[in-house]
Structure formats: C-alpha cells, structure tokens
C-alpha cells in the first residue's frame, strides 16, 4: 500500500495543482517531477473538453467493471489522462465540454486506503 506516494500526490489530485513557467507562461499538469527556477504553483480551473476517450471493457480488477477514460484538454492548455464519470458511453463525444470533480479513484481493499482524485464529467449546466 503506497501510503506516502498517494499523500505526495494530493495537491494535483485534490485541487489540480499544476506548474506555470513565468517566462513562457506554459502550464504543466500533472506538475513536473523537477520544477524549474521560473516555475510557480498554479491551481487549474478544471474546465476543458474531451480530446479523446475510450470505454475500457477489460480494465483492471481494482477499477471494477467498465469505465471511461479520456484525454481532456484543459482550458489552460495541458492534456490530462483521467476517467470520465456521471456519463454513459453513448453520450460522450470529442470536443464535449467537461469539468473536474473529485471522486474515489481506487479502493485498496477493506484494510486499505481510499484513493481520491480528479475525474471529469460533462459540464453540469
């Protein structure tokens, strides 16, 4: 059980903390493993659109059953891999506006950690 690993990642997972290079204004998410001298922390809006998606039918047991994954193009620029939630496959399309929600990513078992993080769903309104 990777307790410390999940703990280290909470900034990005819980509130979309990314990095902005002050010189180039480039935003990176997930944040880079090594930040440059001009990097500053930035909280992303969580808004974006579906760049591509797939309904995973043979996912790992840890995720249970079918789920949707996507590459989401955030309005700030980064392309993020994440699950889609609160939507059925026949209602998903490329270009669809989505927003970030915080959900359970994994349940590591009865005596295990609950891992929370970002997923995306179609814009509510």
């Amino acid at each position: 059980m990777e307790l410390a690993k999940h703990w280290r990642l909470k900034g990005a997972r819980y509130r979309l903390e990314g990095a902005r290079d002050r010189r180039t204004n480039t935003i990176t998410f997930p944040p880079p493993h090594f930040s440059g001298p001009d990097d500053e922390l930035v909280i992303l809006s969580g808004r974006g659109e579906i760049w591509s998606w797939s309904a995973v039918e043979n996912g790992l047991d840890a995720w249970g059953g079918r789920y949707l994954v996507a590459l989401v193009k955030l309005v700030e620029g980064p392309l993020v891999t994440a699950q889609l939630t609160d939507v059925d496959p026949d209602a998903v399309h490329i270009g669809q506006p989505v927003e970030m929600v915080t959900r359970k990513l994994r349940d590591l078992g009865e005596d295990g950690l609950l891992v929370y993080g970002y997923k995306f769903r179609p814009l509510l309104e």
Partner: protein, 348 residues
C-alpha cells in the same frame, strides 16, 4: 438552549445530489412482490462517490456562491453518519480539496441525521465569537439501509454545505436558533455494524414529531413569531409524509413546505436532508422573506432556526448550480445495478 441574538448568517450555500435514482416500486418489486414505498424513489451514490466526494462538491458550490477562496475558511466540519473511514477524518480531505490552509479547524460530526446542523450551530458560535471569519458546515450521507428493510426505500445520498459568516455579508441572516435533545433510542447503529436498527412506529410520535415540534414551538415562542410570519418551512424529511404532517400540526400551510420538500423525489439524505431542503428554498427566496428550518437527528434531537433572506441572495444563487439542476439529472437504475453500486453483493 435558545440563541435569539445572532450576528451571523449564511454567506454561501451549496447542494449536491448524485445522478442515480432507484424507484421505490423497483425495491418493492424485489422484496415485496410489487407495490410502492414511502417516497417515489431515492438518490443513489455512484461507485466513485461517498460522503467525502459529495461534501467536496457541495463545499465548492458554497464557496462559489460566497465568492470565497478555501483559504478563507476557518472551519471545515462534516456532519455524517456514513463517513468513509471509522477512524480518519473526512474533514481534512475535504479541506485540502477546497484549498483550505492547514491552520483550518477540521473535524467530523455525528448526530444521526442532524450532524450537519449541529456543525452549523457550532459554526455560528465560532463566527460570532470572532474566532474565525468563515465556518463551513456540511451535512452529507450515503445512507445505509439493510436490503429489504423499510429503511431501504428511503436511505439516500446527498450533501449540502453552508458557510457561516457575519450577518452583514449574509445571503440569509440566522436570526435565532433552538436546540432540543433527549435520550430517545428510536434509531441507532452499533459500532462496526453495517446497517442501523430502527424502532418502526417508535421513530414517529415520541421521536421525530416530539423533537421537531418542541424545537419549532420553542423557537416561535422565543422570537415571538407565528407560522404565518415565515414564507417557508424546511423540516428534516425521512419520508414524504412526516414533514407534511409535522408542518400541519405546527400550523404551516403546504405551500410553505413544498419548495424545500425533496424527500418524495430523492428520499432521505440523512445529514443532508434538512440542509438540502434549505438549499432548494434559498434558490427561490426573495429579499426579506423568512425561512424556518428544523432538522432532526435520531437519538434524539432537533435544531430549529429562523432565517431571513437579504438583498445579497438574488445575485448569489446562480454562481453555482441550483438544487433543481441536480434534481433534474436523473439516471434510473434497477435493483441489481443499485445493489452492485452500493456494495450489497457479497463477493466472498
């Protein structure tokens, strides 16, 4: 204890209801060979949802309406009887997700269905005393009902968040509040047991009705008001019938109750139930109109509040999705799917 001089109010509120619904007729089909239940259907949390995730979304909505940053919150208090961990606070995780400072006060509250309003009253104290500027109180539950039990027809999921701040900035001022508690074993769940036990008809007259009516009557008496002085009444709603009967007994009219009565559509969201009703009511309340809110928690107790909408409410309500948006996104599931989503299959 009545608090009749409050300089606090609701500066932000936020609702959350998951999109899945199961009809009572579907539950009745499986367990009773057909028929109906005490509500039309209930809201069911998805497999990736729990008290923590729902509290986060409700909290984010409340922050948006309050136009606050999480870093400005002084407390993150989560009232629930379905915290995902028995030991490990929901509040710390919610606080981090909302962007709070580590110096925030975070904790979990438990008082059956009124854990959320207990946190609300405590938040009033923190703000009124000047200890914090803003206090977040959330009621959230993914309620448990033993398969086939009467509770299963209503035990639902939802969350509502309230940010308490000074009355000067409030969307609705909290003018007074009354707490009324007795030791009444109408409903309980022992530690380490998965489902609660309830006292059937004992949950009615001596429990729900007595506490709601005592708290409401005491509040009316303390502030010298009558039911007709309030535009709306929001009660804890374990089913469709109880709040309507209690309202009538208190002298309120059905149209005062209707906007905040969500149980017929989404069931009993436990710690969220009264506060979600308040969210739906605040969505339509006009400046100067008064709301009475009475929560109820088994065990037992009721918190009654008198609120008055301010001129700030109108412009704040559309900064986040209205409760009706969450009510409208209904995805029906059958019993088998519901059982899978709620982990009711024993997979060995």
């Amino acid at each position: 204890m009545a608090i009749t001089r409050s300089d606090t109010g609701i500066v932000g509120y936020g609702a959350y209801i998951p999109r899945f619904r199961i009809a009572d007729s579907e539950i009745a089909r499986v367990w009773a060979g057909g028929g109906s239940g005490p509500v039309e259907g209930k809201a069911v949390a998805g497999t990736d949802e729990d008290t923590i995730t729902m509290a986060i979304e409700a909290g984010r909505n409340a922050l948006r309406r309050a136009q606050l940053d999480g870093a400005q919150l002084g407390t993150v208090w989560i009232g629930s009887e379905s915290h995902p961990y028995a030991v490990k606070p929901s509040g710390t995780l919610v606080a981090e997700a909302l962007g709070c400072r580590p110096t925030v006060h975070a904790a979990d509250w438990e008082f059956a269905c009124k854990a959320g309003t207990e946190a609300l009253t405590a938040g009033m104290g923190m703000v009124s005393s000047g200890l914090v500027e803003y206090a977040l109180a959330v009621g959230a539950d993914t309620a448990q009902g033993r398969p086939g039990d009467a509770l299963e027809y209503t035990a639902a999921a939802g969350a509502a968040a309230m940010i308490i701040g000074s009355s000067a900035k409030a969307l609705a001022t909290i003018d007074a509040t009354v707490s009324y508690v007795t030791d009444t074993p109408d409903f309980f769940r022992r530690a380490d047991r998965p489902y609660p036990v309830h006292g059937n008809r004992f949950t009615g007259e001596p429990a729900y009705f007595h506490h709601i009516e005592a708290a409401a009557t005491e509040l009316l008496h303390e502030i010298g008001a009558e039911p007709g002085d309030f535009r709306y009444l929001v009660l804890h709603q374990p089913n469709a019938k109880f709040p309507q009967v209690a309202a009538k007994q208190l002298g309120f009219r059905p149209e005062q109750v209707a906007p905040g009565l969500l149980a017929p559509r989404i069931g009993n969201t436990y710690s969220a139930a009264a506060l979600l009703g308040l969210c739906a009511t605040l969505d339509i309340t006009e400046v100067g109109e008064r709301i009475m809110l009475v929560s109820y928690g088994s065990g037992a107790g009721a918190d009654a509040y008198a609120l008055t909408a301010t001129e700030h409410l109108g412009q704040a309500r559309d900064r986040a999705p209205r409760t009706s948006v969450y009510l409208a996104r209904e995805q029906s599931v059958d019993y088998a799917t519901y059982a899978r989503m709620r982990g009711k299959y024993n997979l060995g």
